[in-house]
């Protein structure tokens, strides 16, 4: 069994247990999906071997069709959260850079004004200005000179 399934459903107690393949959904995705249901149900997460167990108990009385619909909504939410996590991961570097620059600007003053000595675009600005013994020369450059 690799997909999710309803393990138990009891309209009398408004409870539902779903089991999920642990290999299919990262734990963070499960937490995020469960979080969405906190206002509608009491949620308990558990594990049984290679499967996550999600116990949901409605905060209000729920009949069987409503419980089945809730199971389906939970499965959809898992998919939505998995996609969301992928997008966040893919765009994390961009988000960090934008946020960093925004905070830098908001922290007061212009970065350029304060750092006239710094070339913001340099990425490998190696080499010490006053280096009579050539200590600051990167090893690769020395190696290259020797090989030529």
């Amino acid at each position: 069994m690799t997909h999710s399934q309803i393990e138990t459903l009891d309209a009398g107690t408004s409870t539902l247990t779903l089991s999920l393949d642990t290999g299919l959904y990262p734990r963070d995705v499960l937490y995020a999906a469960a979080y969405v249901f906190l206002d509608r149900a009491y949620v308990l997460l558990d594990r049984d071997g290679s499967r996550f167990l999600v116990h949901l108990r409605g905060k209000q009385a729920l009949d069987e069709p409503t419980l089945r619909a809730m199971a389906g909504e939970f499965e959809n939410e898992l998919l939505a959260q998995a996609l969301r996590q992928r997008l966040v991961r893919a765009n994390q570097r961009i988000l960090e850079d934008i946020t960093g620059l925004a905070i830098t600007g908001a922290a007061g003053g212009s970065m350029q004004e304060e750092t006239a000595m710094i070339d913001l675009q340099d990425s490998a600005d190696d080499g010490f200005l006053d280096d009579p013994q050539g200590i600051a020369t990167p090893w690769e450059a020395k190696k290259g000179a020797l090989e030529e």
Partner: protein, 321 residues
């Protein structure tokens, strides 16, 4: 109070050491270095470094480290240090091979800019071994001059020593030599079999083989009144010297590299892997971070000795860990 999640811990940003690996370029090629030629070409743009530091500072960070590679050969290092100091970073650390500090003027500028935590990787205690490891015949003399320059400016660097196949038997003498120049804190790091050094299997010997030299360094340190701690070896491999085993989590280091951001102890070159038999140990997932993965893969768990609660008398596992 703003907090950052580092691994399983929540840490106040004011306690976090933001360790920015500004680039992997270096002026030497040590024989055990794990930085590949490809990595050596990776350098963070200065604007990116500033943006990351500005963000961390806005959250409350006051501790920064500029690592590498060899950070002192980067021309923008000292302007970055001044900028960080002026932004409110109070602790500014730079780990280095110390060659550049042999220039008195550079050492002065480094101190003036605001570096106040100097760390130096001491390879050896003799010119010959220094040259063998670092590949420069003048390295020992330059580092010695660098340390003297920093001392004259009122700064005692922290010494970082690498435990490997040709240094373990000299560790005590290395400690004594550099203690003679005023160094009073030494960290011992186990050579890593990763990236460029992954096939250099001979560089890493079993701890049980090197233990005599490691323990001798601890004892020499005690005799000299200097601190010597190990930062890569689990306490069960150094019985009787558990108090010399440091917990990397206590440093609260957030590593920022050109490729990723992570807690130091989550790095693949940090001890963070347990053997199966560790599950019975009192330190398991507590005070002990486990072994380095590359060590476990190389030598297995034969040297691991799970410690039962009744065996422990020297350390208490932190309740929050």
């Amino acid at each position: 109070m703003s907090e950052l999640r580092l691994g399983e811990q929540w840490v106040d940003w004011a306690e976090v050491l933001v360790d920015v690996q500004i680039g992997y370029a270096c002026n030497v090629q040590c024989d055990y270095c794990s930085i590949t030629d490809e990595m050596r070409r990776e350098n963070m743009a200065t604007g990116t470094i500033m943006a990351k530091l500005a963000e961390a500072r806005a959250r409350g960070a006051t501790r920064v480290a500029f690592g590498g590679g060899e950070p002192t050969i980067r021309r923008s290092l000292l302007p970055l240090v001044r900028w960080s100091r002026d932004r409110g970073y109070r602790s500014i650390k730079v780990p280095s091979n110390a060659l550049m500090y042999s220039y008195r003027r550079f050492a002065e500028e480094a101190v003036e800019a605001g570096i106040n935590e100097f760390h130096v990787s001491f390879m050896a205690h003799t010119p010959e071994l220094y040259e063998k490891i670092m590949g420069r015949s003048d390295a020992f003399g330059l580092v010695t001059q660098g340390v003297r320059n920093l001392a004259a400016l009122g700064h005692k660097p922290v010494g970082d020593l690498i435990i490997k196949s040709d240094t373990w038997m000299h560790l005590a003498d290395i400690v004594e030599h550099w203690a003679g120049l005023g160094i009073d804190t030494f960290n011992l790091w186990l050579v890593s079999l990763s990236d460029r050094n992954k096939d250099n299997l001979a560089s890493l010997l079993p701890v049980s083989v090197m233990r005599e030299g490691i323990v001798a360094a601890f004892e020499r340190g005690k005799k000299l009144g200097v601190s010597v701690v190990s930062r890569h070896i689990p306490p069960c491999m150094l019985p009787g010297y558990e108090e010399h085993v440091a917990d990397l989590r206590e440093d609260k280091v957030l590593v920022v590299t050109p490729r990723a951001t992570f807690a130091l102890w989550e790095s693949r070159i940090s001890p963070n892997t347990y053997a199966e038999k560790c599950a019975t140990c009192r330190y398991f997932q507590g005070a002990c971070l486990g072994l380095r993965r590359d060590y476990l893969e190389r030598y297995g768990d034969e040297e691991v000795r799970p410690q039962l609660p009744s065996e422990i008398t020297t350390r208490e596992a932190p309740s929050a860990a």
